[in-house]
């Protein structure tokens, strides 16, 4: 599974899933902490729709962690103050970069969480749809 999709599932989903996957790796491999979870900033680059140019919208507070498994460095980055999750994401990232055998078994769990997230989103969208305006033209 590609990194973009996996990190969205892990960040938006139940943090217990990231905890479970990272624990599995920590149990079997030595994980060296390169940078303990710390707070920092990410500057958001944005495209505006009037002239299609780029500008900086502002910064977002993030928590970042870095670990190493073998000679593979993993990075965990998440918006907000979420130290535990950032650490878990870093371990998962390093495991994926190293191609550890455990990662092959993660797809089903991640896909199940993705389905749960999609279900939650579709319920939320249905709630928003209730606020959609149905215009009736007034007759004289």
């Amino acid at each position: 599974m590609k990194r973009r999709r996996m990190t969205e599932i892990l960040i938006e989903g139940n943090p217990e899933l990231a905890d479970r996957l990272a624990s599995e790796i920590r149990h079997h491999y030595p994980v060296r902490e390169l940078a303990a979870p710390r707070q920092g900033l990410t500057m958001i680059k944005m495209r505006e729709t009037a002239k299609q140019s780029l500008f900086y919208l502002g910064e977002v507070l993030v928590t970042e962690a870095k670990v190493e498994i073998g000679d593979h460095i993993g990075v965990g980055i998440v918006a907000g103050v979420r130290e535990k999750l950032a650490g878990d994401l870093a371990v998962i990232d390093a495991a994926c970069r190293a191609g550890l055998s455990e990662t092959a078994g993660w797809t089903a769990m991640l896909e199940a969480e993705e389905i749960r997230l999609a279900d939650r989103k579709h319920r939320e969208l249905a709630a928003l749809e209730k606020t959609k305006v149905q215009f009736d033209t007034m007759e004289e």
């Binding site: 960040i11 500057m43 680059k45 495209r47 002239k51 919208l57 502002g58 907000g80 305006v133």
Partner: protein, 369 residues
């Protein structure tokens, strides 16, 4: 005349800080940061927007510390921001990827995808709701349970929550000018002091982090005649913008890190501009003013779209078209900081002015000696 440092008053300052804490605590009840987070959404949005730092948790803490003072909370957040390292730049956020929670148009009744009111105070009676005085935990839970039960009975929606842009339909019809994506790296006013004329990216960055009241006041002034822009709002949308950062050694967009989303309000205003057609006859064409800010703050985003369009036309003599006038006066920390500094001791400078007046009255030339 230069500044002269003086010292003294340390004990008084410490007592003053104690007094400040006493004012915050003496009522006997304290609002927890978690309560601010869950109930002061729009205040948090405004603080984050003016601080140019998206962090609901820190904004809520700053609001508590500042006893609800907007300017103080923004100052605290800006100061804290300056202590943190900038670790990453995001990949370009394309606005059409917003997960929309609200979307309206003042220009068209029927827009593709429909008008979605979402959560808004726009249609509420502006009457004080005294029932909130007795809103108990039990009542809140009952209402929530009932609302959520109603929602769970709804048929699930499909789609991903994104909506097409109204402006793109008009561009497809040839009614608006089209622009190719311009990927020129933006300037950053937090890294470099900008110079006039400011670049478009600098203008947009300054406006989006501007003080809500200042942006609104100048946008309003433009409508009232101190500018030449009177738009129709093409689209206001509010929702979640997904943020990604590139991975080191990554292989394209699918390989980047998703880090979360930020809520933002975005506006495209349609501005009629008289122009001469190919046959030399006067005709109207439309230009777009762009506004965006963190959180749900539609007034600020609409006002920003007016000012964006004003600043695109510096040929006008009106004050809201003067970028020095607009851009140098809308920042919360700069404006409140400069005004506030007037209450700091100016004993020596004022004394010299007094000396000058006294000297004049005695028949001197009035110049400082």
């Amino acid at each position: 005349m230069g500044y002269v440092a003086v010292k003294g008053g340390t004990d008084a300052i410490e007592a003053s800080i104690d007094r400040l804490k006493y004012e915050r605590l003496k009522g006997g009840e304290q609002v927890e940061v978690s309560a601010i987070l869950s109930s002061m959404r729009l205040l948090i949005d405004q603080v984050m927007s003016e601080a140019s730092l998206y962090s609901p948790e820190l904004a809520a803490l700053a609001i508590k510390q500042a006893e609800g003072s907007m300017e103080e909370a923004v100052f605290l957040l800006r100061a804290h921001r300056s202590t943190l390292p900038r670790l990453y730049y995001s990949e370009t956020v394309e606005p059409e990827r917003m997960g929309v929670e609200r979307r309206i148009s003042a220009s068209f009744k029927d827009i593709p995808g429909g008008q979605l009111l979402g959560a808004t105070h726009d249609y509420t009676h502006r009457l004080i709701d005294f029932s909130l005085l007795e809103e108990s935990e039990k009542k809140r839970k009952q209402w929530l349970d009932q609302y959520e039960e109603e929602l769970s009975a709804l048929e699930k929606a499909t789609g991903d929550g994104t909506y097409p842009k109204v402006v793109e339909y008009l561009r497809e019809e040839g009614l608006f000018e089209t622009f190719e994506p311009d990927n020129t790296e933006p300037d950053d006013v937090t890294k470099n002091v900008f110079q006039f004329p400011a670049s478009r990216s600098e203008r947009l960055q300054i406006l989006t982090r501007g003080q809500t009241g200042a942006i609104t006041a100048l946008g309003y002034a433009s409508l009232r005649g101190y500018g030449q822009v009177h738009p129709t709002v093409g689209e206001v949308r509010m929702g979640q913008l997904p943020i990604t950062v590139p991975a080191h050694g990554g292989d394209g967009e699918d390989d980047s890190y998703y880090i979360g989303s930020v809520r933002a309000t975005e506006v495209e205003s349609f501005v009629p501009m008289p122009t001469k057609g190919p046959d030399g006859k006067q005709e109207l064409r439309f230009e777009i003013g762009y506004g965006i800010c963190y959180g749900q703050n539609e007034t600020k985003a609409i006002a920003m779209s007016i000012l964006d369009q004003c600043l695109e036309h510096p040929e006008s003599d009106a004050p809201s078209h003067d970028e020095e006038f607009v851009l140098l006066h809308v920042d919360t920390v700069e404006s409140t900081g400069f005004i506030s500094h007037l209450k700091m001791p100016h004993y020596v400078t004022f004394q010299s002015k007094l000396d000058s007046v006294r000297n004049t009255r005695k028949g001197g030339d009035g110049h400082e000696s």
